[in-house]
């Protein structure tokens, strides 16, 4: 009888054996047996303020570390509160496992108190999910779930465990061996002919471009990408989620592509004769109008998920598999080349619009978000983990913070979930306690999950928060400015005094509205022992340039008007 355990104990025991050290959760009736058992296991439980926060924390934990993040909630409202976080993780292929309590198996289907069909609700937003109603299934399901979450294209697995399965006892039989899932093949391999065709296209190309996506980070293929780029002199453009996969300061780096990518990057894509898409999925914010996208280019697509091939953009060669291993096999077939003409041409495109060096511009008396972010970049030496929310500030972060390290930008790309930043940053900090973690959030999105400041206080975590406070739901206001005749419906935003608010939570709050105060403010936050929230009162009607309107041709960008002081220009006085 020595090894008899309740299902509740097995949950934690299995997680511990899987190497899980931290979970994010919130208790309630249907998960109470599990919470009772938690006290006896060496797991750090972070009490969140809303279950959405738990899922974003698990997500941020996963993105910062590459390890599966784990979130826990009760049945019904606890579980449904997780939906946004699960969908956020799904669209960005972030591996998380969610464990929810479910009502007793005998009352399932009776509309019992706090009963929701959670496996039904989450079916389209998970890679896989389980309803566990027998104690013997708890351990093998957790083992399977973590395996599915982390293998292949990383995904989200939800395990709904009935209360009686938590309460019942069984002899724990832990089989740490391989999971047997006959229908699940995460280890695909491309054929030799496909490798040859890809290599031929690369070797024959004059104007090739690497499109580096999130898959570079997920695969850990930074070294392989860099080697390929350097050997064949292929310039590299990154998706928003690919940022950090190739060093920003590398001479072959072009910057971000797509809707708010630099003009020269999109121009280079339109002129390229070969696109090498590495772990990216040709999102519509990346391609603009697919009918006119990269019209001169052959396309080679490497992705671990074959359902991505020819989904948005037709490709000439598709190589299925884990990026690092595909590139290991492909590299020996790629010949060196200097591609001087192409690199010079890109340098020329860049020359006319290179406005990103904004440090030396004189102080015009205005505080722009770009300056704030650029200063944070300089002061942190580009070494911080930046977790952004969604909106204009997110794009300025991508433009003005130069990331050299993988997993140093954490942002919700595919779902664009406002409220992501603060909880995701908490997850990131717990995954990498030694990292300097900054939140960059808008005044709008910050208010969606700001209750998690209490979590920071309770857990005694050190995070700095930069609120880019423009008094608007800025990104929506920008669309209204461009496409709705400046009719600012429901975008002006009244906010609390964020500095005071921080003090209420027991944290430090600062307010900054002049450019000369940015550097001292950021320094003060960095030096402080506890978490600091800085309310940056920035220019209200600032605009993110350049911009490809949704669905427009990639080369038809709305460019920064030379007359408008959108970001300071030298004559902006």
């Amino acid at each position: 009888m020595a090894s008899m355990r309740t299902g509740a104990q097995i949950i934690w025991e299995a997680l511990v054996r899987e190497g899980v050290t931290t979970v994010f959760g919130y208790p309630g009736g249907a998960i109470l047996p599990a919470y009772d058992a938690l006290l006896d296991y060496p797991i750090r439980h972070v009490l969140v303020r809303h279950e959405q926060g738990a899922t974003h924390m698990a997500d941020g934990y996963a993105r910062a570390s590459g390890q599966v993040g784990v979130a826990v909630a009760t049945s019904g409202p606890g579980a449904t509160n997780m939906v946004t976080g699960i969908a956020t993780a799904m669209l960005d292929s972030s591996p998380i496992v969610c464990i929810t309590g479910q009502v007793g198996s005998r009352v399932i289907g009776t509309d019992a108190f706090q009963e929701t069909d959670v496996t039904g609700v989450t079916l389209p937003i998970t890679k896989h999910n389980y309803l566990v109603s027998h104690v013997d299934d708890v351990a093998p399901t957790i083992h399977e779930a973590l395996y599915i979450a982390r293998s292949g294209r990383p995904g989200q697995v939800l395990i709904d465990i009935t209360k009686d399965a938590q309460q019942a006892s069984t002899e724990l039989q832990w089989d740490p061996g391989d999971v047997k899932l006959p229908g699940y093949r995460p280890d695909l391999r491309a054929s030799d002919t496909e490798y040859s065709r890809a290599a031929d296209l690369i070797n024959g190309s004059k104007r090739p471009l690497i499109l580096a996506g999130h898959g570079v980070l997920l695969s850990g293929a930074m070294a392989q990408v860099r080697e390929l780029a350097e050997r064949a002199n292929i310039p590299v453009a990154m998706t928003l989620l690919g940022i950090g996969g190739f060093p920003a300061l590398h001479p072959l780096n072009l910057g971000m592509m797509g809707m708010h990518g630099e003009a020269w990057v999109n121009q280079a894509i339109q002129e390229a004769d070969l696109l090498l898409a590495l772990g990216m999925r040709f999102d519509d914010r990346v391609t603009g109008n697919t009918k006119t996208y990269a019209p001169n280019a052959r396309k080679v697509h490497i992705d671990i998920d074959p359902s991505e091939f020819n989904k948005n953009v037709k490709v000439d060669v598709a190589l299925a598999g884990d990026l690092a291993s595909v590139l290991d096999d492909l590299a020996p077939r790629v010949t060196a080349g200097d591609r001087k003409g192409w690199l010079d041409a890109i340098r020329d495109m860049k020359g006319e619009v290179a406005v990103r060096d904004i440090q030396n511009l004189p102080d015009s008396g205005h505080l722009y978000a770009a300056h704030v972010i650029n200063d944070i970049w300089r002061l942190t030496g580009g070494k911080a983990v930046i977790v952004t929310d969604v909106g204009q500030h997110q794009m300025w972060e991508a433009q003005y913070y130069h990331h050299d390290e993988p997993r140093s930008l954490i942002t919700s790309g595919g779902l664009g979930t406002m409220g992501f930043a603060l909880p995701a940053a908490i997850g990131a900090k717990l995954a990498r306690p030694d990292a300097e973690v900054w939140v960059v959030a808008g005044d709008g999105g910050f208010q969606m999950t700001m209750a998690e400041l209490a979590t920071i206080a309770q857990e005694k975590i050190k995070i700095n928060v930069a609120i880019i406070n423009n008094g608007y739901l800025g990104m929506v206001r920008q669309w209204q400015e461009f496409f709705y005749e400046r009719r600012y419906a429901a975008t002006p935003l009244l906010s609390p005094d964020f500095a005071k608010l921080a003090e209420c939570f027991g944290l430090t709050g600062l307010r900054i509205d002049r450019r000369q105060d940015v550097v001292p403010g950021v320094e003060k936050a960095r030096a402080a022992e506890g978490s600091v929230v800085i309310d940056f009162r920035v220019e209200q009607e600032d605009t993110v340039y350049p911009m490809v309107p949704a669905g427009a041709d990639l080369h038809k960008m709305i460019r920064r008007p030379s007359s408008a002081p959108i970001v300071e220009t030298a004559d902006d006085e």
């Binding site: 198996s105 399932i108 496996t119 109603s133 299934d137 093998p140 006959p182 359902s307 020819n310």
Partner: protein, 193 residues
């Protein structure tokens, strides 16, 4: 560039587990495909169910669908049998109104179409027929004038010709079967999907 729409027939082997039909159907809906017909039942391999799914889509759509089906953890094997030599069949039961005068005519039509009358009542006949959709459509057309009281069709099932088929290896199936409340009680009835 628009590719041609065509009826694609997929044979899909899935693990015999609760909720699998839901997962497959949800995938079609989520990715914007309309299922024209779907038939499901047990197979030569215990633990595996077989679905025959007919969808109207183009070649690219069919390829993406196959790749997406493979992403479902419980899906064991997928084959688009549209372009391979295969036998397609559907079963229909047709209840036709009859009178003393029309019954003989109806029975003759049944013969011509090699269908069977499986129930004969004073005012109706139930006809059972198996064949391609075209054949069943043809039979329905000639019976329509007599009055179709009730029609039920199973949807297409398919099998590839020749010794090799779309099968799964029983050794591939996981040892751990369904448990508890979900275990089927009546072996004749599939509670699996």
């Amino acid at each position: 560039m628009a590719e041609q729409l065509q009826r694609h027939t997929f044979v899909v082997y899935v693990e015999d587990k609760p909720g699998v039909l839901n997962r497959v159907a949800s995938l079609f809906r989520r990715r914007g495909f309309n299922i024209e017909s779907l038939a499901v039942g047990h197979t030569e391999t215990p633990g595996a169910s077989r679905m025959t799914i007919v969808v109207l889509t183009d070649a690219g759509g069919a390829r993406r669908l196959e790749a997406n089906l493979y992403k479902l953890v419980n899906v064991l094997r997928v084959q688009d049998v549209t372009e391979v030599p295969a036998i397609f069949r559907e079963l229909a039961m047709i209840k036709v109104a009859t009178t003393r005068e029309t019954r003989t005519d109806v029975m003759q039509l049944v013969d011509v179409f090699r269908a069977r009358a499986v129930d004969v009542a004073p005012e109706s006949v139930v006809i059972e027929t198996t064949g391609t959709e075209d054949k069943i459509d043809g039979l329905l057309e000639v019976l329509r004038p007599y009055g179709l009281l009730e029609v039920v069709r199973t949807g297409r099932v398919a099998m590839v010709r020749g010794p090799r088929g779309v099968v799964v290896d029983p050794a591939d199936l996981p040892a751990r079967g369904p448990r508890g409340a979900a275990a089927p009680e009546d072996p004749e009835v599939s509670h699996s999907v």
